[in-house]
Symmetry: C2
Subunit: 187 residues, 2 copies
């Protein structure tokens, strides 16, 4: 079951989505994950459990939906004055977030659901942020960087460490991989 | 709740584990994932649902446990006569398996459970196979390769594509990353 990704603002559907998402975020802070149930979420959001099942299918899909909303960037990466500076600062911040307990839980929620839609959105958010950095670089007459290289050389190895090696990459670890990126030279 | 990783062979505990694992593998072939429930598994394995809950905690932990058992290599990588050949052949086979539907389901089961134990075992299996290749290389007087490099340069980017970009890496894609590995030269 899929839900419309952008319910009409102000409509009943949008109000239900907002109330249910808020209930999940509140309950996630208050209790252990194993205690998070659809009836408890429904009760907090003041909807019926069947409303949640009808709209999201199951708890896993609902949690993935909330995680995706939280992973969606709400602003472009900080402007430090150069492509290299922007990229370094954004990568350090991104991996601080992803290796935190809430970041790990979001990744788990996104990767634990069948189908590709949720994980694909994470990939899209990353590329969107790199593109924003590239657009600013172009405006500064800098040569943009290939987003695929950033993902292959820096992002993928760090996500592997977080996901498979339970590692919390330090700033130094992020910078060590960042140094492997050959920065485009000015034309 | 964690289960003993190696129950005493032949004991009641080992028999229950074998029956429940087999029931999961059978039901996974017969029906859609959403229909896979603890009562259905218990029924097929001829145990009570409470036996499953007591031992595995919940369905997600049981599925992760079955996935880990299937991901565990049952033999060392094929011997092709050289480090380079062994590594290339093993990587191509590994990514064929991981990008298949059952491979993706296993990764999802492993990454969707809280805690690091399951995902850490996947990392351990990978390193174990690279070490087996290295041991053979040493016996042939070849210089072994740093497993961390194999993971950073080849494994992590391909897993990223499978997990986040719903991509099925071709043999050519595996080989293109493989070419980036600087093979150690003979001493």
């Amino acid at each position: 079951m899929t839900m419309p990704s952008t319910p009409r603002p102000g409509g009943r559907s949008a109000r239900i989505q907002a109330a249910v998402h808020q209930a999940v975020r509140e309950l996630q802070k208050e209790q252990e994950r194993a205690e998070l149930t659809v009836p408890a979420i429904a009760n907090r959001a003041d909807v019926t459990p069947s409303t949640i099942y009808r709209r999201w299918g199951d708890l896993a899909q609902l949690l993935a939906d909330v995680a995706i909303e939280q992973l969606q960037p709400d602003q472009p990466p900080a402007d430090t004055g150069s492509l290299q500076g922007d990229l370094r600062a954004w990568l350090i911040e991104y991996f601080e977030e992803m290796s935190s307990a809430p970041g790990r839980a979001m990744l788990r929620d996104v990767l634990g659901t069948p189908g590709h839609a949720n994980a694909g959105k994470c990939d899209g958010f990353l590329r969107q942020q790199i593109e924003a950095i590239n657009e600013r670089a172009l405006a500064r007459q800098e040569v943009p960087i290939d987003p695929e290289k950033v993902i292959q050389i820096v992002v993928a190895p760090l996500l592997y460490r977080i996901l498979f090696a339970n590692d919390t990459p330090t700033t130094q670890a992020v910078e060590a991989l960042f140094e492997r990126l050959t920065m485009p030279t000015k034309t």
